[in-house]
């Protein structure tokens, strides 16, 4: 009697690989796909963003001035920054832009998007009109707004105020009013962006939810707070984080409206303007790098905190 026949099987090594592949869980296979998708982007981000950032971090510990040797000076730049009252003033301004800009712009843009969503006629045109400010260069718009802020009889705002019997405002010529005055066109230009994102988010809310609410007889406010806003959570998170970053990095409008000064008396100067001056007017690259590292740290912390807060609820 012969021993039972064995069915043919693949050779040793192949058998191992096939077993390995088939033993991979779906999860692991997906992970491979994920990394395949991410491969090129990761290389890109490292080369274009992270490597230069590392360079900047390194530069922040030196006294480099574009040409000539980079001399390592340890934490001297950081100490100098911490002791500079101009720096703290700039930090204060930057956070003021954040604290005023984000809530106001989010509120305004949501209100507009909400109502725009319900409009039937001329939807496209209206939307385009709100977006137009966002499309125009800061320099051109800043020039126009500067004229609006002039004292009467030239400045439209003051003419309007005095017409209502209110005293005229110095606006750009006041150390207290200048920052909000510069912020206004930035908000005006920025809400177009937020409106469009909100609209995209509003459109993505399933109609079935609204229909169900209508059947339940829920009023407009309840619908807003219990259906619309929660559905918009990812959109809101996105907008809060990106707007915060944008306002913390404000530059174009300040530069254009204050002749690059950040005045009067540095009352409108944000951190990015300080970086720009240090790097390209004083050519102190090492010190500018230090300021950038600080900016980066602020942005990172704020974003992480916001992400945590807005998602855990």
């Amino acid at each position: 009697m012969l021993p039972p026949q064995r069915t043919a099987r693949p050779g040793g090594a192949e058998r191992r690989v096939t077993r390995q592949l088939s033993e991979l869980t779906i999860g692991q296979k997906r992970a491979i796909w994920a990394w395949a998708f991410l491969a090129l982007p990761v290389v890109f981000y490292i080369a274009i963003r992270f490597y230069p950032t590392a360079e900047a971090l390194r530069a922040s510990f030196t006294n480099w001035n574009i040409v000539g040797r980079m001399q390592f000076i340890g934490g001297d730049n950081y100490a100098r920054l911490a002791q500079d009252p101009a720096f703290w003033n700039v930090i204060g301004n930057t956070f003021a832009y954040l604290g005023l800009g984000v809530p106001i712009s989010m509120l305004l843009s949501f209100v507009v998007a909400y109502h725009l969503d319900r409009v039937r006629f001329g939807h496209g045109l209206l939307r385009a009109l709100y977006f137009v400010p966002h499309l125009t260069t800061a320099v051109a718009m800043a020039w126009v707004w500067r004229w609006f802020y002039q004292p009467p009889p030239v400045g439209a705002f003051n003419v309007w105020l005095t017409g209502l019997g209110i005293a005229q405002m110095p606006f750009l010529r006041s150390t207290t009013q200048a920052l909000p005055a510069v912020l206004a066109p930035a908000i005006w230009a920025g809400i177009g962006f937020q409106i469009v994102i909100f609209l995209a988010g509003l459109k993505a809310v399933p109609r079935t939810y609204y229909e169900a609410a209508a059947i339940d007889g829920a009023g407009a406010w309840r619908v807003l707070f219990e259906i619309t806003l929660p559905s918009l959570r990812p959109t809101i998170v996105f907008l809060v984080v990106t707007s915060s970053i944008a306002y913390l990095r404000i530059f174009d409008y300040v530069y254009a409206m204050t002749n690059g000064q950040g005045g009067p008396l540095d009352s409108t100067k944000p951190l990015v303007l300080m970086i720009f001056e240090t790097a390209f007017k004083h050519f102190e690259m090492g010190y500018a790098a230090t300021q950038t590292v600080v900016l980066f740290a602020i942005l990172l912390v704020i974003s992480l905190v916001q992400l945590k807060l807005l998602r855990s609820r």
Binding site: V67, T175, N259, G263, L265, H282
Partner: protein, 422 residues
Amino acid sequence: MTTKIGRTGFWLAAILATALSWTGAARAQVEIEYWQYTFAQRVTAIDTLIKQFEAANPGIKVKHTHVPYDDFRVKIAAAIPAGQGPDVVQLFYGWLQDYLKAGLLQPLPAKDFSAVEIEREYFPIVQQMKVDGKYYALPTAVRSLALFWNKTLFKEAGLDPERPPATLDELVDYAKKLTKRSPNGDLIQAGLTIDMGGQDHHWLREVLVRQFGGAPYSSNNKTVAYNTSAGVNATQWYIDLAAKQKVGQIGFLTDGVTAFRSGKAGMTIDGSFRLGALDGQKGLEYGVAELPSYNGVKANFASYWVNGITTKATGPKLDASVKFLKFITTPEAMELWMNTVGELPARRSVAEKDANKNHAKYGPFIRGLTYSYATDFVNETAQRKVFIDMVDKVALKNVPTKDAVAQAAAEEQKLLDGFYNK
């Protein structure tokens, strides 16, 4: 045997000939780059000069690049460390220290640009381009300040449109007559523009301070010297123009140039570079006069853009750059420059020709050059800001003038110290 030598000889000759022609070709094509900021008339002037230069120097080609003003320095800051950029570069005289610190310029070869000759030929202010006994750059043209006045508004105010004020007291007097306000007291026409961000800080620094009996800096330029009663008085006089005499307002129509161009200001202190723009302004009839004197003292501020040779230029490019720089600083080049750009010749012989000295528009500027000073800036932007802030402190924060001047002096001294003690 003969064939072999013949053949070898032929090849040797061929190689030799090719080699010679190559070096010949190499010699015939040196290309250097010239960079300046974008200013239509200067671009035209340089293009013309380049054409003439290339015709006279067939082995050299000059590539002309111009960059928008706002980012001229950014571009240079990025290019030179990367080994790109110009061989001959334009820079503002006030940036010399920055450029030297950043290692961007090399000294002009003494045999081609002798210090003795420069000092004999050029206006004294050019001597600031000499550091440690070597010259680093030379100007083709210089600018100074003058008083511009609007003839139409003079006529309307009952003033003789051909007779500008000659002293500071007359200036205030005229300005008062030229100021117009609305029934609410709002300024609708300024007698004199008040704009520290414009040329006024030069006017205060080099002119007014001296006219009130002081000096802005010590003789070696390393110490601030305007924190004296003379300096305070000069500053107070300037501030009073808006505060007490009420002949102008900071920020009126956004800035002084705009106010004057739009015909809403009777007079303004500005530089010769303004001539082109004003000539192009439709409907504006204006005149130019030397700056008003005070206490018999006349002073002026001059500034100039210079051309230097960068550290990038070596060997044949250096030679070509030297030739080019020499060419654009000849008297002929300066005459061409004046007629094309409207800036004043940097060589005295050219500027002080009668035709130029008595010119209706250039004359006052040229005459002003004989008593001008060019501030030895270590950081023009920052030093200008010190003055802007000084005046803003008094106007917006009610800081007493004396204190504001003292603070400004301290801030500026810090800038100077920071630079010289490196």
